[in-house]
């Protein structure tokens, strides 16, 4: 094409930068889904097609509610950013394999429509939609969520069709049966919610998320670290402290929560030190609930409670800009103090 063509080209005058990263919201959410795939695979391996069916219903209903709400209210379509799919998948991961198929439908309706869209959609909700939905279901359909089917690896080893989860043994203080070993918990050979059974699969997903820069290491590390430290210090009768700590890390939904739930963008702090405090808070509340609470599992409410503190944490950890030295900060403080005294 000749440059000096007769027709005049009207050029865009866009403000800088003129180039942008190729990682957009949809791609970030896609990576979260990829990171959950090992855990999905383990759940299908242990619980069969029922697990896959639950996940499919949950994801499909979440996406449907997001689409329908935006359509009905004549808002822009947002299912392309995949965040609804992530919510649906995460909710499914918290369900026991025996959950009826209508349960995730009710859950995703609450999570997507009430918790997320009524507050303005992606980025504006202050509670994690998947966890808020789980809390809602836990309060309304406790029975349906409390039955844990035997995983394939334990069929024939344990009598009956359901079994108590490792965490409920820890909670009641009874000694654990011999078939719950650290190895079986790492690999997912134990009863539990779909996504929580294999600590190893979750860890692989978590490492992928940190390496691909979807999440920072701060929240998961401080969350899991706090739980580890507190359980190591306080321990429990009948267990050695180290055993008790390791069982606590692997037996419940801690990894699922710390890696995938607590790091939800909209509901966790963005300030760097704020993220450390947030993770620490999640860890403390989890341990408190596990020791003293009415439920064996504490991560859901720990995270929801810390969600509510996110705004305050971000405000408190507002950082100083480049070029402000420690002396400057001290001088500023001294000046403020002096001004206060002068006012008196």
């Amino acid at each position: 094409m000749a440059v000096n063509q007769k027709e005049r080209i009207v050029f865009d005058v866009a403000y800088q930068p003129q180039v942008r990263t190729d990682v957009n919201t949809g791609r970030l959410m896609g990576r979260v889904i990829c990171a959950l795939l090992p855990a999905v695979a383990v759940s299908v391996w242990q619980f069969g097609l029922q697990a896959l069916l639950l996940i499919a219903v949950s994801v499909a209903s979440a996406v449907f509610f997001e689409w329908a709400y935006r359509k009905l209210l004549k808002k822009s379509a947002t299912i392309g950013d995949c965040s609804a799919a992530v919510t649906g998948l995460l909710l499914a991961m918290t369900m026991p394999p025996t959950a009826p198929l209508w349960l995730p439908v009710i859950g995703t309706f609450f999570g997507i429509v009430v918790v997320k869209q009524l507050y303005g959609g992606i980025g504006k909700n202050f509670l994690n939609p998947a966890l808020a939905a789980r809390a809602f279901l836990l309060a309304s359909y406790a029975m349906a969520l409390g039955q844990f089917a035997l995983p394939r690896s334990l069929q024939g080893v344990v009598d009956g069709i359901s079994a108590a989860t490792p965490l409920s043994y820890l909670y009641s203080g009874e000694p654990m049966p011999a078939y719950y070993t650290l190895r079986s918990m790492m690999l997912g050979m134990r009863p539990g919610a779909l996504g929580e059974i294999s600590a190893l699969a979750l860890l692989i997903g978590g490492i992928y998320l940190v390496v691909s820069k979807v999440i920072s290491w701060r929240i998961p590390v401080s969350f899991i670290g706090t739980v580890a430290l507190l359980t190591l210090i306080f321990g429990h009768e009948g267990y050695s402290n180290v055993d008790f700590m390791l069982l606590n890390l692997c037996s419940g939904g801690l990894f699922l929560a710390a890696i995938f739930m607590a790091t939800d963008y909209a509901t966790s702090p963005v300030t760097l030190n704020g993220q450390l405090l947030y993770g620490f808070g999640c860890g403390v509340i989890t341990v408190l609930i596990r020791y003293f609470g009415g439920y064996p599992e504490g991560v859901t409410y720990a995270i929801l409670l810390m969600n509510l503190c996110t705004w305050a944490i971000d405000k408190a950890f507002h950082r100083h800009q480049f070029g402000v030295s420690k002396e400057d900060i001290a001088a500023e403080k001294a000046a403020k103090k002096a001004a206060k005294e002068a006012a008196k």
Partner: protein, 451 residues
């Protein structure tokens, strides 16, 4: 120890230093705008019909913060009138019809041995030759160096060239290493210092090796290899990486005893002092998806973009944007008639291919802007308060400390117009300050009348 700063991003660099520099045939007509620097505009010294020689001074201003401009070709002045300026608007320009003789001007003789050792003589020459910050800022170099004498103990030459696409500095290092080192030595002598530092990003390892093989210590220069990261070439980041000092908020590098001069500026100073050649040409990287291939081309100042594009093979697609400089901080020109000027390091013709915008950008609060901000700011909150028009909180979140490097907006997965918002907010703050000042002055004047 690695020399770097906190934050920053890794854009796709798209650099092509392996493409050798070509010399462009000068255009039939050059357009020399009277503003090619920050400061007072120049007044034309020639009239329509005059004959000018190549390198002849054709515009100057008595103001201290200014830099004269020179004819980049020899020939007849055909117009002295406002013409489209690359940075927008119509600016008074001298249009010269090229006679293709390149008759040289002899006004500036090479400096003598003694003069090359004298700070004042060098600074005088830097000013006369119209040298400005050729990294893009276009601040008059002589004024900057003179202002730093006595205050500045660390002189840093900026060889980061952290903007994607651009290769001009890299090619200058490879093609004219000795001249470049001599030019840097001149800046060091002019600054009255015994030593200076040359910060170069490690993606130019061949240039670092070449310069080191020429014994830079002979010239009082230490080469500092720096981590590859945008915006390493920003003044404040450069000072931090080399000296560890942090420029105070609202301050300039000389406030912490540092001065930063760009690579191409040093080469221009070499040419001015050793060859008696004013700033009439510069190397430009021409690239973007509208072009077939990137080109590194030595152009005369005042060459219209249309001609540059033609010389580089023409468009293979209709461009949508003309970006001047690099894509991170470069701004858009609106007209192909506008000429390149002293600070134009790159001309990028972009199409839809480079465009990644979102019609309804929605912040997902991922906080990725916070991790990359080299100024330690919190763009997510700055943008929130900007949207609300909350001046108090915008100030509290230091919106005016943003130097618009674009790292946050580059890294934003939701495609929020962050840098755009902060630029607008800064202008709003300026306007507000000006209004308050005017009000206070009026108040004072009224009181005076009463007294």
């Amino acid at each position: 120890m690695t020399h770097t700063f906190k934050g920053g991003v890794h854009p796709n660099y798209m650099k092509a230093p392996e493409i050798p520099m070509t010399v462009m045939t000068p255009p039939p007509q050059v357009v020399i705008p009277m503003i090619q620097h920050i400061g007072a505009p120049n007044k034309p010294l020639v009239q329509k019909g005059d004959y000018v020689t190549m390198g002849q001074k054709i515009g100057e201003s008595p103001a201290p913060v200014s830099a004269p401009v020179h004819a980049s070709v020899s020939g007849k002045v055909v117009a002295v009138e406002p013409r489209p300026h690359p940075l927008g608007d119509m600016i008074l320009s001298v249009v010269i019809e090229n006679d293709y003789k390149d008759t040289p001007c002899t006004d500036l003789a090479p400096l003598t041995e003694e003069q090359l050792k004298d700070s004042d003589a060098i600074l005088e020459r830097i000013r006369e030759a119209g040298v400005v910050g050729m990294g893009g800022a276009m601040f008059p170099t002589a004024f900057k160096i003179r202002g730093g004498i006595g205050k500045v103990d660390k002189l840093i030459i900026n060889g980061a060239e952290c903007e994607p696409y651009l290769n001009g500095d890299h090619l200058t290092m490879l093609n004219y290493p000795e001249q470049l080192l001599k030019g840097i030595e001149l800046v060091r002598i002019a600054s009255c210092l015994d030593k200076c530092y040359y910060g170069i990003e490690k993606n130019k390892q061949d240039a670092i090796d070449l310069l080191n093989s020429l014994h830079p210590e002979k010239y009082g220069i230490e080469i500092v290899p720096e981590e590859i990261k945008y915006p390493q070439g920003a003044e404040k980041m450069q000072v931090k990486a080399v000296t560890g000092r942090e420029v105070k908020p609202g301050g300039i590098p000389s406030g912490v005893g540092a001065n930063v001069v760009s690579t191409r500026t040093c080469y221009a100073i070499y040419q001015a002092c050793y060859e008696g050649k004013p700033v009439i040409e510069r190397i430009v990287t021409v690239a973007g998806s509208a072009m077939k291939a990137p080109t590194n081309i030595l152009t005369r100042v005042g060459t219209p973009f249309e001609y540059i594009a033609e010389q580089c093979g023409g468009f293979v697609k209709t461009p949508r944007k003309i970006v001047l400089g690099g894509p991170m901080m470069g701004i858009c020109a609106t007209s192909l008639e506008a000429p390149n000027i002293k600070g134009t390091a790159g001309v990028l013709f972009f199409t839809e291919e480079e465009d990644r915008h979102e019609d309804e950008p929605t912040c997902i609060r991922c906080g990725k802007c916070i991790t990359v901000c080299p100024m330690n700011l919190e763009p997510v909150f700055m943008y929130m308060y900007y949207s609300k028009g909350d001046f108090e909180n915008m100030a509290k979140y230091h919106i005016t400390d943003c130097f618009e490097c674009g790292s946050c907006a580059f890294n934003c997965p939701a495609r929020m117009p962050l840098t755009h918002a902060f630029k607008t907010a800064k202008l709003m703050f300026q306007a507000k300050a000006a209004k308050e000042k005017a009000k206070a002055e009026a108040e004072a004047a009224r009181k005076e009348v009463k007294v």
